[in-house]
Amino acid sequence: MRWLIRTLSKRLFRGRKNQSRDARAANQTGDGNLFRAPRKNQVLSPDLETNLKAIKAIFDKCSDVIYREFVFAQNEQIRLALIYIDGLADKGQVSEQIMRALALEVPMVVPGQEITKARALEFIKQRGLCMHQVKETDKLQDVIHAILSGDTVLLVDGHTCAIINGARGWEARSITDPVAEPTVRGPRESFVETLRTNTALIRRRIKSPGLKIETLRLGEVTNTDVAIAYVEGIVNDKLVEEVKSRLERIKVDAVLETGYIEELIEDNPWSPFPTVNHTEKPDRVAAMLLEGRVAILVDGTPFVLTVPTLFVEYLQASEDYYERFLFASAVRLIRFVSMILSLTLPSLYIAAISFHHELFPTPLLLSIAAQREAVPFPVFIEVLIMELSFEILREAGVRLPRPIGQAVSIVGALVIGEASVRAGLIAAATVIVVALTGIASFTFFYSFSIAFRLLRFTLMVLSAALGLLGLISGLAVITIHLCSLRSFGVPYLSPMIPTTGVDLKDVVLRSPWWGMFTRPRLIARQDQKRQEQGLKPTPPKNPRP
C-alpha cells in the first residue's frame, strides 16, 4: 500500500507547495481587519493616548467596544486603559479581578513599596492581576485580535506593552443532547458552538498527551478559530500535513460552519457523495481519532469534520459500538439493505411496472394491475409526483417550527397517502414503495442520504427510459464513480474495495470488541495494534467462588 500513499501525496502536493507557503505567510501576519488594518508589525507606542486613538480609529463606529480608563493603585501618574467588547468579556471578571484589583487592592497588598510608572508593568503582572491567563504583546494587531476574540486588553501608559487578559465570557448554549444523531445507548453530550468547550469534550475522552490540538485562523473577515485534532502516534503524519496544507490553502472571507471548509478541502467536489464526514458527537470524534483520523473543529458550530472518510462510516452509528455486537451487526445489515432500497426501490418499481412484468409473481401482478387500472398517469410520473411530494413534505417538516411541522406531516400523509389512493390518482402500491423508500433513507446518515436521494431521481429517469438496463447501467456508473473516489488518499470504498481482509470486521458486521485487534489499515498506518489479543471473556472454571 505504500505506493498508494506515495503516488497520492505526489499527486496531492504537486503544484500546491508555493501556494500553501503564501497562505501560511499570510496567516502568520494575521491581517485581521480588512478595513482599517494596522500596518504589519505595527508596534504600540509608549503613549497611552496614541494607542487609544489608534485603536479607536480601528474600532470606529463599534459601539460595543468599551474603553475604560482608570489609574493604577490610585497613582494619578500611572494611567491604565481597559478595552474589551461588551458581551464577549466576562463583566464580573473585568470589574472584580482586573479593575478592582489594580485600582484598589494593589496598594493594600504592597503598602511599603513605591510604585513608579516605570515599574508599573512589573507590578501589574506579578501582583496586580488576579487572572488565570495573561499574555503580553507589543503588536497592535495582536491587540485588535485579542479584543475581537473577547479578551480584555490592558494598556499601561508609558509602556509599549499590552496585557491581554483571558477574561472571556459570553452567553453560550450549554451542552445538550445531540439533535442530529440521537442515540438510545451511549453518551448524550453533543458539541456546542464554542471551540474551547468542544476541544475540552474531546480531551475529556482521550486523556493522553498524544492528543494534539493545533489551531489556526480562517476567514479573512470572520477570523474564525479552527482546530485540528489528532492523536500522535496513531495518526499518519502525512495525513496531518495534508490536512494542514489543504486548510491553509483556504482563503475565504468567512467560515461560519464546517460546511464551508468541507467544500473547500474535498477530494472530488463534483461528487454527490460526501468525502468529508461530520458529526456532533464527541464520543464519535474520539473514536475516529483513535482510528487515526484527523478532526477539524470550527468555532461557532457544533459540527466537527473528520477525515479521511469512508463509505462505510455513514452506515456505522456510534451506537453500534455500544450495543451488543450481534444486535449491532443485525442493525447494520438492515442499514445496508435500506441503503440499497432507498437508492433502487422506486426505479426497480418503475422498471418492473413499465417494462418487466414478468418479474412479479402472477397474483401480485394481477393485484397491482387492478390497483393501477384507474390511475391516469404512467408509473414514472406517478412515482415522480409521489417522490417529489414526499421530499416537499420532508422539507416542510424540517423547516417549520416543530408544532406546525407535525401538523404538516399529518395532513400531508393523509392527503397524499390516503386521499390520493381513494381518489384513484395514485396506486396504493406506489404509496407503499415511496413510503418505504423514504423511511429507508432515514436509517443512515442524513448527509449521506442526500446523495442517495439525488441519485434516486436519476436512476428513476434511467429506468423509465431503458428499464432494467437503464437501472443497471446507472448503478454501474455509480459503482465506478464510487470506486474512483478517494478521501484524503484513502479509497472511499475501502476496506471493501480494495479489500483489506482484517478490516472487514467492521463493515457490514460489527465484530465483538474482543475481536477488534487492529485499527483500520489504510487510515492508521503507524500504530496498527488496537488492543491485546485474547480478551474474549471466559467464564471462570469454578462457577462458585
Binding site: 505506493w3 503516488t7 417494462f355 418487466h356 414478468e358 418479474l359 412479479f360 409473481p361 431503458l466 428499464g467 432494467l468 438496463l469 437503464g470 443497471i472 447501467s473 448503478l475 454501474a476 456508473v477 459503482t479 465506478i480 464513480h481 470506486c483 474512483s484 479509497p491 470504498l493 471493501m496 474495495i497 480494495p498 479489500t499
Partner: protein
C-alpha cells in the same frame, strides 16, 4: 509508464475471471452440449486443462519482461517492424473481440428483455459505461469488478441452488457416451474462450507483485473453467442433453425454471443483472486492452484521449454484425480456430520460441 495504477493479485484474478465468464456462461454451455451432450462437463474440464496450459505459456512469456506489456515486448523480441505488426494484429483482436462482446451483449438484451430497442442504443449505453470505467483507469476498473463479481457469482450460485429441485442426475448419464473427438470438439469452444487469458499479458506489468502472475492466471482459469463446468452440469441436469443444446441461452432458461413455493420464481432479473454488470466489466477489459495497446503502439504519453474514439470504433465494428445466427455460428465454429491458432496459442508460442532462441528477457521466469 502509461498506466499509473497498480492492482493486487486478488483484483487481477477477479478481472481475469470477468474477462471470460460473463458472456461465456450464456453462450458456451449450449455449444459444448451440442457436441459433447451428456459429457459436456467432461469437455469443460478438458478445456480447463488446456486453458491452464495457455495461461502458463502466456505468463511465462510475459514474466520474461515483467515491466512490459505484450505490445512492448513483441518489439523487443522481434524487432521494431515485425513487433509493430504483431501489435497491430493484437489491437485488431482486442477491438474486434470487444465489438463481438457488444454484439452478444445487445443480442441477449434484445432477446431477453427489450426486443424493440435498437441495438445502437444498447451499444451506446454499454460503451458509455465501459468508457467511463476505462477512462478512470485500470485501478478503478478492477475495483468495480472486485466489488461486483463476487455478488454476481454469489447470486448465480444461489439461483443454481434454487433450481436443484428441478435437476435430475440421470440426465447426466451415461458418462462417456460420446466419442473422444466429440468431446474434444466440445472442448474447443470453451478452450478458445478460456484462452482469452492472453489479455493478461497487458495487465501483468501493473500487478503489485508480478511474481504472482502464474498463480493469478492459474487461479482465474481454474475458477472460470470450473464455473463453466458447473453451469453446464446445471443446465444439463435441468434440461437434459437434447433440450439444453437447443436453447440459445441455456443458463438463462435454467434460471427461468426456478419456482419455489409459488413465489420465489421469475428470477430472470438475476441473470440479466449478472450479464449486464459482468458485460460492462468484460467489455471494459477488452476496451482497456485495445486503448492501452493502441497508445503503446503509437508511443503516446497518455491513453485516455483514445478512450472515446475507440468507443466509437467499437460501435462501428459492432454494427457490422448482421444477425444473431451469424454471431452464434461464428462463435461456435470460426472463433475457436481464429482465436486459438492465431492469438491465444500461436502468437505467444512463436514469441516464446523466438525469445528463447534470441535469448531475450529474463530467463529465470
Amino acid at each position: 509508464m502509461l498506466e499509473k495504477g497498480k492492482i493486487d493479485s486478488n483484483q487481477a484474478v477477479m478481472l481475469m475471471v470477468s474477462l471470460v465468464l460473463p458472456t461465456a456462461i450464456l453462450f458456451v454451455p449450449a455449444i459444448i452440449v451440442k457436441h459433447a451432450r451428456q459429457d459436456a462437463w467432461l469437455a469443460a474440464i478438458v478445456a480447463l486443462l488446456g486453458g491452464l496450459l495457455i495461461a502458463r505459456l502466456v505468463v511465462s512469456l510475459s514474466l520474461r519482461f515483467p515491466e512490459k506489456t505484450l505490445f512492448e515486448y513483441a518489439q523487443t523480441i522481434l524487432g521494431k517492424v515485425p513487433g509493430k505488426l504483431v501489435g497491430l494484429l493484437y489491437i485488431w483482436w482486442f477491438l474486434y473481440t470487444g465489438a463481438l462482446i457488444m454484439d452478444e451483449f445487445a443480442s441477449f438484451l434484445c432477446t431477453a428483455i427489450m426486443p424493440e430497442t435498437p441495438p445502437v442504443v444498447l451499444f451506446l449505453v454499454g460503451i458509455a459505461v465501459a468508457a467511463y470505467a476505462v477512462r478512470n483507469g485500470l485501478e478503478v476498473l478492477s475495483r468495480y469488478n472486485q466489488l461486483l463479481l463476487p455478488i454476481l457469482l454469489g447470486l448465480l450460485v444461489i439461483t443454481f441452488l434454487l433450481v436443484t429441485k428441478d435437476m435430475k442426475a440421470e440426465r447426466l448419464l451415461p458418462v462417456f457416451d460420446q466419442s473422444a473427438p466429440a468431446i474434444l470438439k466440445g472442448a474447443a469452444v470453451p478452450l478458445s474462450w478460456l484462452g482469452e487469458i492472453v489479455l493478461f499479458a497487458m495487465i501483468i506489468p501493473f500487478l503489485q507483485k508480478p511474481r504472482e502472475a502464474h498463480r493469478v492466471a492459474a487461479l482465474a482459469t481454474l475458477f472460470t473453467g470450473l464455473f463453466f463446468a458447473i453451469c453446464t452440469v446445471v443446465t444439463l441436469s435441468v434440461f437434459g442433453p437434447n433440450l439444453a443444446a437447443h436453447w440459445v441461452f441455456p443458463v438463462y432458461n435454467t434460471v427461468r425454471v426456478v419456482s419455489i413455493a409459488n413465489f420465489l420464481e421469475r428470477l430472470d432479473i438475476i441473470i440479466v443483472a449478472v450479464w449486464v454488470f459482468g458485460g460492462f466489466a468484460k467489455m471494459g477489459v477488452f476496451y482497456y486492452a485495445a486503448v492501452l495497446g493502441s497508445a503503446q503502439w503509437l508511443g503516446l504519453k497518455d491513453y485516455r484521449p483514445l478512450v472515446a474514439p475507440v468507443g466509437l470504433l467499437l460501435i462501428g465494428l459492432a454494427l457490422l454484425c448482421d444477425n444473431i445466427v451469424d454471431l452464434l455460428d461464428f462463435a461456435a465454429r470460426a472463433w475457436p480456430p481464429y482465436a486459438l491458432i492465431v492469438f491465444e496459442v500461436g502468437m505467444p508460442l512463436f514469441l516464446m520460441i523466438v525469445a528463447l532462441v534470441r535469448g531475450k528477457g529474463e530467463s529465470n521466469a
